[in-house]
């Protein structure tokens, strides 16, 4: 498995979350997820101001193959979305942990980050999925 950023927290459903210095949380899908999906051709994002629940569907990524739901790893209010993805969904394929971020949240309960996995645990989870 290629190196997973250690400053991120991961959900079993392949989203990542990063706590920013300003207290917000950035969310995207993992490199492993984009690899499973194949070339992405369409991304549907939540709207700024939407209130999301942890574990609830909040976005959709569509690849040449299929549509896949994205679940919010934390509860909170959407502060910003990555508008670049509308014209360039392939950014997620190219840089899932960086420029391919999907949205930023104002977390309702930052403690929910602790419910997510660290890089090692996520790597193990992905590994066991493959068997």
């Amino acid at each position: 498995m290629s190196s997973l950023p250690s400053d991120l927290r991961y959900a079993k459903s392949h989203e990542w979350a990063r706590k920013e210095e300003d207290g917000s949380v950035t969310v995207g899908i993992s490199d492993h997820a984009q690899e499973l999906l194949g070339d992405l051709v369409f991304v549907e994002l939540p709207e700024v101001g939407d209130s999301l629940d942890a574990g609830a569907e909040c976005a959709v990524v569509e690849s040449v193959k299929a549509a896949s739901d994205v679940y919010s790893p934390l509860s909170g209010e959407v502060l910003a979305v990555n508008g670049e993805l509308a014209d360039a969904p392939e950014t997620i394929n190219e840089d899932a942990f960086g420029n391919g971020w999907m949205f930023k949240l104002k977390p309702g309960n930052i403690g929910q980050l602790d419910d997510l996995m660290d890089a090692d645990a996520y790597a193990e989870s992905v590994e066991s999925e493959g068997h």
């Binding site: 194949g38 070339d39 051709v41 959709v60 569509e62 193959k65 549509a67």
Partner: protein, 363 residues
């Protein structure tokens, strides 16, 4: 356990992401389905289609047999090597399979049928062979490789055996050349020029590697599907099956009604349906709103459900989502498709969407 073609290890070595398909383990892509798609539209790509089955029909009454078995008429094939696309129907006019049949000699025709339907097809064909004293023999000893794209023919020729090279080079579209167990047809499933090549299985790896060395890009089933969808070509099991007729699948043109006394299987059912005003139409759809059309999404016209998408996806050439749909008669122009509970705008268009690298519809 899925079957493996003789190229299985080669696919793995070239980075093929193997997935189950029709009982076989086949490459979905070798890294990027989109890039593979563009290679075929712009240059040349190759597909391992050895999972499909070559069935040789031999016997003196082969023509008569096929005139009964198939909805298209093999009597149209006058010249050795000539190919014909046809449906094989059941008595209700449903499609048992779609296939290509080649005329080799008066006592020898060759059919190529789908992978997932092979056993069913052989059983169905077997119901009629004895009546005509013909033999239907699946040629599991042969591999099949499709090379497609504007530069496909030029890049393939040097890799062909000497004996078939010249005749392959001279082929007109929808014709095949043969030398021993090499059978080179100028046919395809992408909307581009190219060849579909049947060859002895034990030579398939060397041939594939030789094509790769000539700059032909390996392509997986994913690109094969987006290419055929852009070309407006039907996929068995998605666009038609045993429950729908060719007349409701955009394949009316493959039914040979004349001569009127040719009693092919399913003829009676098709004749009744031909005049039915409620007969559904098979149309192309362009998504004008946001999203991606997928199989089985429902189509609406003026708020009423009028049918469903049979094949949907993203068109890499057009950069838009397209689909094929079966809808009520009279549905034209603007309509909507229900995607995740929302009505999204779409437009009925005439397939093909893309041919020979060019858009054929207005976006």
């Amino acid at each position: 356990m899925d079957n493996k073609t003789l190229l299985f290890d080669t696919h793995k070595a070239m980075g093929g992401r193997m997935v189950p398909f029709g009982g076989w383990s086949m490459p979905l892509h070798y890294g990027s389905q989109l890039e593979e798609h563009h290679h075929v539209r712009r240059d040349a790509g190759m597909f391992d289609v050895s999972h499909m089955t070559v069935v040789d029909i031999t016997g003196e009454r082969s023509r008569e047999f096929l005139q009964h078995l198939l909805a298209n008429d093999v009597a149209r094939l006058k010249q050795s090597g000539r190919a014909l696309y046809s449906c094989m129907l059941n008595e209700d006019g449903g499609v048992v399979d779609d296939l290509i049949v080649y005329f080799v000699a008066d006592d020898w025709y060759r059919m190529v049928v789908n992978a997932g339907t092979t056993e069913k097809d052989l059983a169905w064909i077997g119901r009629f062979t004895a009546d005509y004293g013909v033999v239907a023999k699946p040629r599991r000893d042969l591999a099949m490789i499709a090379v497609q794209g504007p530069n496909a023919r030029e890049k393939t020729i040097p890799s062909l055996p000497e004996e078939v090279r010249q005749s392959a080079e001279a082929l007109a579209p929808f014709n095949a050349a043969r030398a021993a167990d090499w059978f080179v047809a100028r046919t395809g499933y992408t909307g581009e020029d190219g060849y579909e090549i049947m060859l002895p299985g034990d030579q398939s790896v060397a041939f594939w590697e030789s094509l790769a060395a000539s700059g032909v890009h390996p392509c997986g089933l994913g690109a094969r599907d987006t290419l055929r969808l852009e070309a407006g070509m039907n996929l068995y099991g998605s666009d038609m099956d045993e429950l729908v007729s060719p007349l409701e699948s955009g394949l009316g043109w493959t039914v040979a009604w004349e001569p009127g006394d040719r009693e092919f299987v399913g003829r009676g059912a098709l004749e009744a349906q031909r005049e039915d005003p409620a007969r559904r139409r098979f149309v192309g759809l362009l998504l004008t709103g946001k999203g991606v059309l997928r199989d089985h999404l429902r189509v609406f016209s003026e708020g009423e459900p009028v049918g469903e998408i049979t094949s949907g996806g993203f068109s890499p050439t057009l950069g838009r989502s397209i689909g094929l749909a079966r809808v009520s008669p009279g549905v034209t122009g603007e309509c909507t498709v229900e995607i995740r509970g929302k009505q999204v705008g779409a437009r009925v268009v005439k397939a093909p969407f893309v041919r020979f690298g060019e858009a054929r519809i207005t976006l």
